[in-house]
Amino acid sequence: MLPMFDLESQKQRGMMYRRIRDFFDGRGYLEIFTPTLSPTLIPEPTIQDFETRFVNEFVGDRDFYLIPSPEIFMKEVLACGSPSVYQISQCFRNSEQLGCIHNPEFTMLEYYTLGFDEKDSIALTRQLIDALLMDDCPSFMKEDFLVMSVNEAMIRWAGTDLEEHQDRRRLARRAEELGQSPAPDEAWDDIFNRIFITYVEPELPRDRIVVLTDYPYQIDCLAQRRPGTPWRSRWEMYIAGIEVANCYSEETDVEVTKAYYEKEYARLVSQRAGTGLPIPDVSDRFPTIEVPPSSGVAIGLDRLLMCLTGRKDIRDVLLFPFDRLMRE
């Protein structure tokens, strides 16, 4: 029997891409097209990559990686004086579980807006989603965003005020009180994620799109620190309980960025030592990019398409989901 394909989802995907392009082109953004195969990577201990090798008898062999995100290339373009940019690209994360919201190859929309802060980029993203609404889209997608800080959410659903639990041991005790079993030497960010994933994420309202702002600074990333607070200028968007977008007010300080890469790379090496997991050989080529003040948003488009069309499984918006490829 011939395989069945849901061609309706393809029409909807095409329409979504066209509307995204209209939306950003109309606002003066430049669409850019950067490589999927990269000789370098932002070190991320928790992301495993797809590695491959360029083989050439004249110029020599070299390891390459399928990009987990187009971030470094896009920032490089932005740093060279481009206008605000956007890109729709295929991204790859190895070793993640297959399931109704994960596929190792997925489509990401990234847009970097010069001079925007957190509030501006939330408003822009609302307008973008409005522009993408389809006829049979679930009605809650049209409601105003519920914007709240991570700490407000932690207080409401986990009874835990992070301002009072900045100390690692204190947060670990709180996790135990709640019934969790963090490891004795577990880092603050892992304990936080344990509590957040168990008590907060499942409770996030589903009758509206939720935007969580002000992430703990202990979750190391390239979002700027909010001076005088324990937070970073970062937000995430949840639709029907699914994490769909992530935004940073991008770090502009080259030294801070470099120190971050080195720290993350050291963490990656120490976590993978002896596990047999591959360690990407990129330590001598971290890009030093002077990113202009900007807000960078990454949206998982397969997940967004699911939400826009009321589908419950990422495999329903992919013609060849990964588990199907595994069977072939």
Binding site: T46, Q97, G99, D190, E236, N246
Partner: protein, 187 residues
Amino acid sequence: MIKAGQIDKGTALLIKGQPFICIEREFVNPGKGSAFVRLKLKSPSTGQVLSETMKSQDNAEDITVEDRDIQYLYNDGTNFSFMNVETFDQMEVPMANFPDYEYFMKEGETYRATFWEDQLLDILIPAKIVFTVAEAEEAVKGDTVQGATKYVTTETGLRVRVPIFIKQGEKIRVNTETKEYLERVNK
């Protein structure tokens, strides 16, 4: 020991010395941070449900369980009585641990059950069961939306909404998960 990432629905685990069965498992990869599994675990002995989140790389203590055949004897309103069909040993299990099972198990029938040592963790109930209608109400008129239906009670005491043509003594097939009537069974 197994890695938390390998836990699946039905995996039996020892948590703080107590056996639990995983009833729900979901992978969570935060945008930044380690991969976790979010688990719902149920204690077969108390019915308690735990929400537990573990890192995929954490170790979990899995326990070896075995399947045995047990015959359902009766219940006294508080406990179920079963007999191990190989050893003829009898055992009592609080009914509260297996809510509604009294409606699905028939006295004298044999069921596949999961044990950890001597503790009964799970009883396998077929997804569809044929029951005999023990009592049938008169049909109630007026429910035009769902078609004409009425309630009947099976030999095990389960109340099921059925089409009005079902009579006492007839056999019906029921979905045990939704407790809904599926079809009349003609011998």
